[in-house]
């Protein structure tokens, strides 16, 4: 026990999230979760090997912008003595931040899914499923709905939509899934009817929509209006946040998606979820929940490193091997990093909107509720 009255020096953790701009909706939730996680660790006595040192969260707004992300990451590292960083939720931003961290030799832990984050980096740690794994899971889920899935893939025609949909297209033959329509569209359309008209004509029985929130809302509503009987998989990101249900309402029921974290995984996840709900009123969504686990992984590394030095924290992170506690809140319940910084046990979850909440339904060993058939 550290002596009472002796305040151990706090450990600085940088948190890079977009709390303004187009990605603010999710970014704000991330910050709330980051604070919750730090509070939980601090209230439980902080980092014991450092004399009960508290985690001191230094939050920075990266404004949903790649240029700002670069300067903010730089500024955060040079003007503070950081032990580690977490961020930025959007892969496009995290790729930049992790580059800066790499050069400054500060470890960064992230839930971003881009496979590129695992290439040529030794200070980047990704405890959750990768984008390529998500695509595979989505394809496998289409087989839950039909023995002979005929999938229509529609995607917004910028980097996000194109890369995700190309991943789906490449993996489809291997999974025995037929893609009957593969169509880019320009985001921010005024009317989804012509697009859904096309889906109808394609004879698809499953629809993968790689879309931003607003387009997805229109697509879901239009599918209902057309009376088209098609199983929709909305992927992750904006699809698995409480705001989606608030906007779409009952129509969201039964829609499927994929996530790297869900609040029904285990007792610990449910505990954190309850606490987050108390603070914000919403359930703990994918990225924010994963972020709580990430903070505990950092705490575990700090504990073992017995030092706030970023290099030592990095080394301790690379030796992380947990299978219980809050740090192990991940699908499968185990985290251990490979040489590329990827969790060797990492896998995605298939989720479904059920009664205004997200339930894990896939794969079998991670399912917490039966799949609802529409």
């Amino acid at each position: 026990m550290p002596l009472r009255g002796y305040a151990a020096e706090a450990v600085n953790i940088g948190a890079l999230y977009p709390t303004t701009g187009s990605m603010a909706q999710i970014g704000v939730g991330c910050v709330a979760a980051a604070k919750l996680a730090a509070d939980m660790i601090n209230e439980a006595g902080g980092i014991k090997s450092l004399g009960g040192a508290k985690l001191n969260l230094i939050i920075s707004d990266v404004q949903s912008d790649t240029t700002v992300t670069r300067t903010e990451t730089d500024r955060l590292i040079t003007s503070n003595k950081l032990s580690a960083i977490h961020g930025c939720f959007a892969s496009a931003l995290t790729l930049i931040a992790s580059e800066v961290c790499e050069r400054a030799h500060v470890p960064i832990i992230t839930g971003s899914s881009s496979d590129q984050l695992n290439k040529g980096r030794s200070y980047t740690f990704t405890p959750f499923a990768r984008a390529s794994q998500f695509a595979k899971a989505q394809l496998q889920m289409s087989k839950l709905v039909s023995d002979k899935p005929k999938v229509a893939v529609i995607f917004e025609n910028t980097a996000f939509g194109t890369s995700t949909s190309n991943g789906l297209k490449e993996l489809a033959p291997g999974e025995g899934v037929e893609i009957v329509m593969f169509e880019p569209y320009s985001a921010g359309f005024t009317d989804a009817s012509p697009l859904i008209n096309k889906v109808k004509a394609s004879g698809a029985n499953a629809l993968f929509s790689v879309s931003y929130l607003n387009d997805l809302i229109l697509i879901v509503r239009t599918v209902k209006q057309v009376g088209l009987n098609v199983a929709i998989n909305g992927g992750s990101g904006g699809f698995v946040i409480p705001d989606f249900y608030k906007n779409v309402g009952k129509l969201a029921e039964g829609l499927q998606g994929v996530a790297h974290w869900n609040h029904d995984m285990d007792d610990n996840s449910q505990k954190v979820n309850a606490e987050y709900k108390k603070r914000t009123g919403d359930f703990l969504f994918e990225y924010a929940g994963g972020l709580v686990a990430q903070t505990y992984m950092l705490a575990d590394a700090l504990e073992r490193a017995g030092s706030a030095d970023p290099q030592k924290v990095r080394d301790a992170l690379s030796a992380l091997d947990v299978s219980s506690g809050f740090a192990a809140m991940a699908p499968g319940g185990k985290v251990k990093f490979g040489p590329d910084g990827k969790n060797i046990y990492g896998r995605p979850l298939g989720v479904q909107w059920q009664n205004g909440d997200l339930a894990s339904v896939f794969p079998k060993e991670d399912a917490r509720a039966p799949l609802m058939k529409s």
Binding site: P184, S186, T190, D191, P194, L195, L218, K224, Q225, N247
Partner: protein, 289 residues
């Protein structure tokens, strides 16, 4: 095949009705006051937020909130004309362009500050319903929006052609100097024109609310189409803007159906370029109607 074409035309006409409300507002202001209102889309956005808040706070159906958004935006229009636009009218276009553009930026950022960038939708009992006829479907919310939009456009046309004030407006549009000589007060006419144009934008906002999300940038989506329609249908020509808007809706829909889902606008702009090449004054032939 035929069914798909008819369905695409229906979809296009329905969304074209909304484009029409926005573009008629733009063309009315241009025809009468002789300025381009770059902020027209932001007034659609204000109309949407009015309907959104009336619906979520007081349970008012977005369609009924038309009776609030239209008068309110009419008043805003009169005030904007009186306190802002009136001061920059003159031979030089630059101050007018800067003024309405600045107004657009101001309203946009104000909305971002007050309402955040979140998408907001209102769910009514008819939002997701559709009429199904012979394999075709017509979404109820859009059908209502289309009918009301056409009715409002018709009402504006009747107003311009049968009332003294409407005739004065057209007179001021044709020749402001002679209109003044005939005893027409241009300031009054301009204020009413601006008010009416904004009321139409407000109507567009309320009509959109049952099936589209409100967010600060929403006006930009519609104003682009409105500007194309205004040019296509001849600047200042109300009927031209109406017809052009419907044509654009159909062209966009057919383009998405038969060219590609990211090519809808290509068809629209191809139509614009062809029209300008062969009829440089637009389809309306260059007259205010």
């Amino acid at each position: 095949m035929l069914e798909t074409v008819i369905q695409a035309v229906i979809n296009g006409l329905l969304i074209g009705g909304i484009y029409a409300l926005v573009s008629i507002g733009v063309t009315l202001i241009f025809g009468v006051v002789k300025i381009v209102n770059f902020a027209q889309g932001e007034f659609v956005m204000i109309g949407m937020y009015i309907s959104f808040f009336l619906a979520t706070q007081f349970g008012v159906d977005p369609l009924l909130s038309l009776f609030v958004s239209m008068p309110l935006l009419f008043v805003i229009g009169v005030l904007v004309q009186h306190f802002l636009i009136r001061r920059v009218l003159g031979p030089n276009d630059m101050p007018q362009i800067f003024l309405t553009f600045a107004l657009s930026l101001l309203l946009l950022n104000l909305a971002l500050m007050l309402f955040s960038a979140n998408y907001r939708t209102v769910h009514t009992f008819y939002s997701d319903e559709a009429l199904h006829i012979n394999g075709l479907y017509i979404p109820v919310a859009k059908l209502i929006a289309f009918v009301v939009a056409m009715a409002l456009s018709g009402a504006l046309w009747v107003f311009l052609h049968t009332t003294d004030l409407g005739k004065a407006m057209r007179a001021a549009a044709q020749n402001p100097d002679v209109a003044v000589l005939m005893g027409i007060n241009p300031n009054r006419v301009f204020a009413v024109a601006f008010g009416a144009a904004l009321a139409l934008a407000g109507a567009a906002g309320s009509l959109l609310m049952p099936f589209y999300s409100a967010y600060p940038f929403v006006g930009q989506v519609f104003v682009l189409m409105a500007f194309v329609a205004v040019v296509l249908g001849t600047l200042g020509n109300v009927i031209g803007a109406l017809v052009a808007s419907l044509m654009m809706g159909v062209a966009e829909s057919l383009g998405i159906q038969f060219v590609g889902a990211d090519s809808g606008l290509i068809v629209v702009f191809a139509m614009l370029l062809l029209t300008l090449a062969f009829k440089p004054n637009g389809l309306g032939g260059g007259r205010m109607r």
